[in-house]
C-alpha cells in the first residue's frame, strides 16, 4: 500500500511538471467501494469574489467524478467537473457555505451570492434559486440550513433566520437572531442559532438564540463563551456547539472549546476541554475536528449522550491533514469523509475512512475548498435534465407507528439506543425520513404508518410515490395502504384501503398470511419464524452485527399478518447472481424513485371486498413488507425500505 501511494505521488508530481495539462491526479490509495449510495455530492466553496463555488458529483459505481465538456472554458481542455453547471447550465455562485439533504431535495446556501439553491437530489437539477436580500437590497448572506417539519430554516449572516417551505420553496417568514450567526440546528421543537458576532472581532457575540418553531420567534438567548460557531444536535436533543473565543495573540490562534446544551432546560449542560474547531454528528457519535497547539490536526469521537470520549484519535493509519474543512458520515455504513482544503487555493481532497479509522480512498474534490458532502442513495446520472411536471416534495408529516419485522437493518435504520421505546423509534423514523434517510421495515409483515404533511387530493393520474432504494434487479416490494381521516381526529383510526397493485388479483397472492417470529436466545443468532401455512425458516445473519429482532419490542414473539405476494427473487445462473425482479406497478420499494412505475394513484385504493374505494383525498399511508423470502449471502431477507413520501405537485 505504501509503495503504491508513493508511486502515485510521484506520478502526480510528474503530471504537475507541465502546466499545459495539469491535473492533480487522484492520490487514490484504494478503490471506492460504496454499496449503499449511488454517489455523493461534494460542495466546493471556491474563493471569495471569484464566483467559483462548484458542486462535484462522485459516482461510486464507476468510481469517477461526473464531468462534461464545457464549451465556455478557455483553452483546449474543456472538461469540467462542475456538476451543478452540467445539470443547470449556469454556475452556483460565490462562496457556497452549506449543502444538505432534506428528503428528495438538496439544499445549498450560497453566502456571497446570497441565494439558497434547491436541487433535486437524484439529478442535481435546480428546482429553485431563492434570493435572500434585505429591504435595502443588502445581501443577507445565508450560511447554514436546518430542517424541521417541512420547513427549511436558514441562518443568515445579517442576524436573521429565514423560513422556507420545502414544498412551495418560498420564503414564508423571517425572524431575528443574534449577530452573524454561524450555525443552526433543530432539537426538541426548537431552533438553536449560534451567534458569532464574528464581524466585530473585538466584540464578538456570545449567545445562542433559541427560536420556538411553532411561533417562529426567539424565546431565549443562552449565554455561552464568545464567538460560537458550529452547532449540531443529535436525535435525542443534545445540542453541541463550538466556541472559538477571541483571537489569542499569544497563541497566534483561536482557542476553541466544545460545549453541550440541554434542550430540555436550554442551559449549558457541559463544557469540554476539547479544542474542537468543527464537528459532525451521526447517530450518537460526534466526530470532532480537533487541533493541538503546535500542530497536529486530528479527529476525535465522542458519545453525544454522555459526552464521553470514545476515541481521542480516530485516524489510525497516520493520515495527516493540512486543513480540515468539512466532515460527513455516510449514514448507511458509518464511513467518515474528511474534506481537506489544503492551502485554500488548490483543489481540495476528500478522504474516506472506514469505521476502523483507516483510509479507504482519497479523491480530488475537483474544486477549491470542499466543505460539505451529501450522499445520494439513488442517483440518476443519465437524466440529462428533461423537465418533468412532477416536482418532488417530501410529503411526510408524521410517523404514527413503526412496527418492523426482524431484519438485518432493524435496530440500525433508524438506530436503536438503549431506553428507546416504540414512540421514540417512531420519532427517529420521522427524522430519518424527513432527512431522506432510509427506514427498514424488516421481513414480511413489517410496517410503518405515516401521516401526510398535507392531505393529498386524488388528482388525475399519479398522486404520490413512496420513496425507497429499489433499482433494477433489486426490488423489495411493500404493499401500500391509504386512509382518509373520516372522523377528523387526525389519527389513523379510519378504514384502510389497499392500493391494488399489479399482483392484487394474482392467484399466487396469499391474503391472510401470517408469520410468527421469535426472539432468539442470543442476539447473534438468526431469528426463527413459522407461518400459518406450516412452513418455517429464519431471518439469516448477514454481515450486520446488531440484534435483528426489534430491541424495543416487549414480547418475545410477534405475529404479523397480511397479504403475501409471490417471491420475486430468483437466481440468475447466467449472471451468477440473485435478481429481485420488480412487479409491474403499485408497490413501495419496487421501482426506482425516478421511474414512472414507482408512482402511485389513489384511484387504485380498494375496499376490503375489492370494490373501488373512490377516495377524494387521503391523510394517512401505511407500508408493509409483502414478500417472505430470504436470499442466501449478503442480501438476506427481502425487506422493504422507505426513504420518504413524494407528492406529485400540480400547478
Amino acid at each position: 500500500m505504501k509503495t503504491r501511494l508513493s508511486l502515485l505521488l510521484l506520478a502526480a508530481t510528474m503530471a504537475a511538471a507541465c502546466d499545459d495539462d495539469i491535473r492533480w491526479e487522484d492520490a487514490a490509495d484504494g478503490t471506492p467501494a460504496e454499496t449503499t449510495a449511488d454517489g455523493m455530492y461534494i460542495l466546493c466553496e471556491g474563493l471569495f469574489n471569484m464566483n467559483n463555488s462548484s458542486l462535484s458529483y462522485y459516482d461510486f459505481a464507476t468510481a469517477a467524478m461526473a464531468s462534461f465538456q464545457d464549451p465556455g472554458k478557455a483553452g483546449s481542455d474543456q472538461t469540467s467537473y462542475d456538476y451543478f453547471k452540467m445539470r443547470n447550465g449556469r454556475r452556483l455562485g460565490d462562496t457556497a457555505n452549506d449543502l444538505q439533504r432534506y428528503g428528495s431535495k438538496l439544499w445549498c446556501a450560497v453566502n456571497v451570492s446570497s441565494q439558497v439553491e434547491v436541487m433535486d437530489l437524484a439529478t442535481g437539477r435546480s428546482l429553485a434559486r431563492i434570493p435572500l436580500f434585505g429591504d435595502d437590497g443588502i445581501a443577507r448572506q445565508p450560511r447554514t440550513i436546518a430542517f424541521h417539519g417541512g420547513k427549511a430554516y436558514v441562518c443568515n449572516f445579517d442576524g436573521t433566520v429565514a423560513r422556507i417551505d420545502t414544498a412551495t420553496l418560498a420564503v414564508d417568514g423571517i425572524t431575528q437572531a443574534g449577530r452573524n450567526p454561524d450555525g443552526i440546528c433543530c432539537a426538541a421543537g426548537k431552533l438553536y442559532v449560534s451567534n458569532s458576532g464574528g464581524l466585530d472581532p473585538q466584540q464578538p457575540d456570545n449567545t445562542v438564540s433559541v427560536i420556538d418553531i411553532a411561533s417562529f420567534a426567539e424565546t431565549r438567548r443562552i449565554t455561552v463563551r464568545e464567538n460560537p460557531g458550529a452547532i449540531h444536535a443529535d436525535a435525542d436533543g443534545n445540542v453541541y456547539l463550538v466556541t472559538r473565543g477571541r483571537y489569542d495573540e499569544a497563541l497566534a490562534d483561536y482557542d476553541c472549546r466544545l460545549h453541550r446544551i440541554d434542550s430540555r432546560t436550554d442551559e449549558v449542560a457541559a463544557d469540554y476541554d476539547m479544542p474542537a474547531f468543527d464537528f459532525c454528528i451521526s447517530g450518537h457519535r460526534a466526530y470532532l475536528y480537533t487541533y493541538a497547539q503546535g500542530g497536529g490536526d486530528g479527529i476525535a469521537v465522542i458519545d453525544t449522550r454522555t459526552g464521553a470520549t470514545l476515541d481521542p484519535s480516530f485516524v489510525k493509519d497516520g493520515t495527516s491533514f493540512v486543513h480540515i474543512y468539512g466532515l460527513a458520515v455516510n449514514p448507511a455504513n458509518g464511513d467518515l469523509y474528511v474534506c481537506d482544503a489544503m492551502n485554500y487555493t488548490v483543489n481540495g481532497l476528500v478522504y474516506c475512512f472506514g469505521a476502523d479509522g483507516r483510509r479507504k480512498f482519497t479523491l480530488d474534490a475537483k474544486g477549491i475548498n470542499p466543505n460539505s458532502i451529501v450522499f445520494s442513495p439513488r442517483h440518476d446520472l443519465a437524466n440529462d435534465g428533461g423537465s418533468t411536471d412532477a416536482t418532488p416534495a417530501n410529503g411526510i408529516g408524521q410517523v404514527f407507528s413503526y412496527d418492523p419485522a426482524p431484519g438485518q437493518f432493524v435496530n440500525q435504520m433508524p438506530l436503536y439506543a438503549e431506553g428507546d421505546d416504540a414512540q421514540a423509534m417512531a420519532r427517529k423514523c420521522l427524522e430519518a425520513l424527513q432527512a431522506g434517510s432510509l427506514v427498514s421495515l424488516g421481513g414480511f409483515g413489517g410496517s410503518i404508518t405515516m401521516g401526510f404533511l398535507r392531505p393529498v387530493a386524488n388528482g388525475e393520474g399519479a398522486d404520490f410515490r413512496v420513496l425507497g432504494n429499489a433499482y433494477d434487479g433489486s426490488a423489495e416490494p411493500g404493499i401500500v395502504f391509504v386512509a382518509k381521516d373520516e372522523n377528523g381526529n387526525g389519527l389513523p383510526d379510519d378504514p384502510w384501503h389497499e392500493l391494488a397493485g399489479s399482483e392484487y388479483a394474482s392467484p399466487q397472492a396469499d391474503p391472510g398470511y401470517a408469520v410468527t417470529y421469535r426472539r432468539p436466545a442470543s442476539t447473534a443468532d438468526p431469528v426463527p419464524w413459522t407461518d400459518n401455512r406450516g412452513a418455517q425458516g429464519d431471518i439469516p445473519r448477514t454481515i450486520h452485527a446488531q440484534s435483528y429482532y426489534p430491541l424495543w419490542a416487549e414480547d418475545d414473539e410477534m405475529t404479523l399478518t397480511g397479504t403475501r405476494l409471490p417471491d420475486n427473487g430468483a437466481y440468475d445462473p447466467a449472471a451468477a447472481m440473485w435478481v429481485m425482479a420488480a412487479y409491474a406497478y403499485g408497490y413501495a420499494d419496487n421501482h426506482p424513485n425516478t421511474s414512472a412505475a414507482s408512482a402511485l394513484d389513489i384511484d387504485w385504493a380498494v375496499n376490503a371486498d375489492g370494490t373501488p374505494a373512490r377516495l377524494d383525498t387521503i391523510h394517512f399511508v401505511r407500508v408493509c413488507t409483502a414478500v417472505n423470502q430470504q436470499i442466501p449471502g449478503l442480501v438476506g431477507e427481502l425487506s422493504t425500505e422507505v426513504a420518504g413520501i413524494e407528492v406529485v405537485s400540480r400547478q
Binding site: A16, I22, F48, M50, K73, G93, S113, F277, T345, N347
Partner: protein
Amino acid sequence: MRRNHITACLPKGLCHLRGRLCTFKRRMALAAILFSIGTARMAGQERLDTTKVYNLGEVVVEENARQKALRSTMPIQTLDAERLLRTGAVQLSDAAKMFSGVTVKDYGGIGGLKTISIRSLGAAHTAVAYDGIPVTDAQTGQTDLGKLSIGNVERVSLTGGQGDDIFQAARLFASAGVLHVQTRAPSFQGKDVNLTASMKAGSFGFANPNLHVENRWNDRIATSATADYTHIHGAYPYLLHNGNATERRHRRNSDVQSGRAEANLYVRLSEGQEASAKLYYYQSQRGLPTNILYNDYAGQRLWDRNVFAQGRYENRISSRWSILAQAKYNRAYNRYYDPSALNMAREENNHYRQDEYYLSATVLCRPTAHWSVSLATDAFADHLEADLDGFAVPTRYTLLNALAAKYVRPRFTATASLLSTLTHETVRHGQAAPGRQRLSPAASLSVQPFAGQNLRIRLFYKDIFRLPTFNDLYYGQTGTRTLRPEKAWQLDGGITWDIPAGRLPLSLTLSADAFYNRVTDKIVAMPGKNLFVWSMMNIGRVDIKGVETSFQAGIDIAPRIAFSVAANYTWQRALDKTDRHALPYRATFNHQIPYTPRHSGSAAATLETLWVSATYTLIASGLRYCNQYNSSEYLMEGYAEHSLSLWREFRIRACRLRLQAEALNVGNRQYEIVKNYPMPGRQFRACVTLKY
C-alpha cells in the same frame, strides 16, 4: 478577513518609439527647442551623470532618450508626451501597458485598481518615481497607477534594475525596476507665458479638462502650475457569461471624480546650480464595482487625498564634483466605506493616513574623464495610522546608502553599486517588527563590439529585496511581525541595434533581452492553523525566465509624410518553485503564477501627414491563469485590444490647436484582465488642445 487579490499581472508594452521623426518634427515645429532656464545639455554630455530633464528642449530629450536607451547597461523603455497623447493614454497605467516585460493588473475602467509588475517580480518590487522622487505606499507596497494622471507628463520611462544613472537618490537603487514619470519642464521662446488647455470627453460620461500654465518671471525663476479634473460615471456595458446564459449588465458603482493640482518652482541660482520645488495635491472619490453572480449590489466607496511637497537642489560645483539634495513630505489619506457590512455598526468605515518624511543627498565625483563614483544617502520615516481596533500604528525608519561607480568609454560602459539598507520600526501598540539590514549589490555593462555599428550588448545582475509592507506586518491577525524581506535577483542579457537613416530615409532599432529572475522568501498569505487566520509567510519561490524583443522603424515616405511603427513581444515563464514534495505546495509546483501570460505584446503604428495623422495601437495577451493552481477551470482567454486615433494640428497666430478623435477597443472586445472585472468595450473620445 483580508480580501486578498491574487498576485499578478498583464500585458506589456511598447517602448522607446524613437525616431527618425526628430527632423520631421523640427520641420513641423511641433517641438522647438526653447529657452530653458537651466544649462542646456548636448547629446555629447550624455555620459556625464548629471541628468536633469526639465531644462531640456523636447527634441534633445528625444534624442537623448534614444541615445541613452542604446548605451544603457540596463534596459530602458521610454514613451514621450506626444506618443502618450497619440495612443489616447489618460492614466499612467495606459502608458505602462505599452512597455514590454511588464504585466499591468487592471480591475477595469478608470477607477479600477491598476498595478504594474516588471518581469513577474510583483508590484511591490517596482518603484514609481515622480520627477525623480519615489511615490510610495508603505501600507500596501504598491502604487495604483490609475491615480497618476499624465496630463502634464513629458515622458514616462521604465528601467530594468536601477538604470545606469548613478547620480540619483539611493531609493532608486532599491527596487527591481523603476517607472519614471517626468513632468513637463517649462521652456520659453520669446515670451514669458506658456499656456496649454485641453479638454477630453468621451464615452461613459468621461470628461477631463486640463490646464497648464508656465511663467518666466526673470532669467532665473520660472514657475508652472497644472490643474486637471476627471469625471466618469463608468457604467459601461458588459456581458456576464454564466454557463449557457449571457446577461447584459452595466458596471455599477464605477464612477470616479478626481482632481489634481500641482505647482512647480524652478530656480537657477547660478551656472550649474539649480533648485526646484513642487507642491502636489490630489483628491478623488470612487465607487468600487463588484461582479458577484446573482448579487449585483455594489455600494463600497473609496476616497483618497494626497498632498506632497518636494524639493530638489543640484549643484555642479566643478567638473569633478556634483551634489544633489532632495526632500519630500508626503501625506496620503484614504477612507473605505462599505454600507453593506453586517457588523454591529452595519457599515465599515475605515480611515488610513500615511505620512512620509524623506531626505536624500547624493555626491558625484569624477576623478578622471572616464570614471565617476557616487554616494547617495536617503533617510526617511513612514508612519501609518488607521482607525482599526487595536491597530499597531507603525513607524518605519529607513536609512539607505548606495555606493556606485561607473566607467565610461565610447564603446564600453560598466557600473557597479552596493546598496545598504538599515531599518528600524516602532509601533504604538503591540510588538514591532524587527529592524532589517541588508547589502544589495548590482553590476552592469554595455559594449559596442563593432566600431562602425550602433550595436550594443548589455548585461546586468542585480540583487534586491522588498521589505514587508505595513499590511504584511500589521494587518489584523493576518500580519506577521517576523516576516523577512522578500528577495529577488535579476540577470539580464540584451542587445540593441540601432540603424539610423542614411541614404535611405529609414531608421530601425532592434532590441532583445533574455532574463532570468528568482524570487525567494516570497511573502504570501497562507492559512494558519485554523480556518480564520490567514497569515503572511515567507514561503514562496518563483523562477522567472523570459525574452523581451522590440522593434521600431521610421520612414520618411515623402516630404511631410512619415510613417513609424513599433512593436514588442514578451515571452515569460514565471513558475512556482516553492516545494515539489510537500502538500499543498506540490499541487502548484511548476505552475505559472497568476495573471502572467506566456505570450504578450503591443504595437503602435503612426502615419503623420500634413492633413491628418493617425495612430493605431494594439495590446495583446495570451492565455493566463487567474489562480496559482493552474487547473483549466482558471484559465482565462487571451485578448487583443485595438485602438485608433486621428488628429490634426492647426496654427492660429501664436496658438496651436490640436483636435484628436479616439476610438478605444475598436473591436468592442469583451475581456477581463482580472477575473470577474470586465474591461470596458468600445469607447469614443474627443480631445481638443490649445497651446499658446
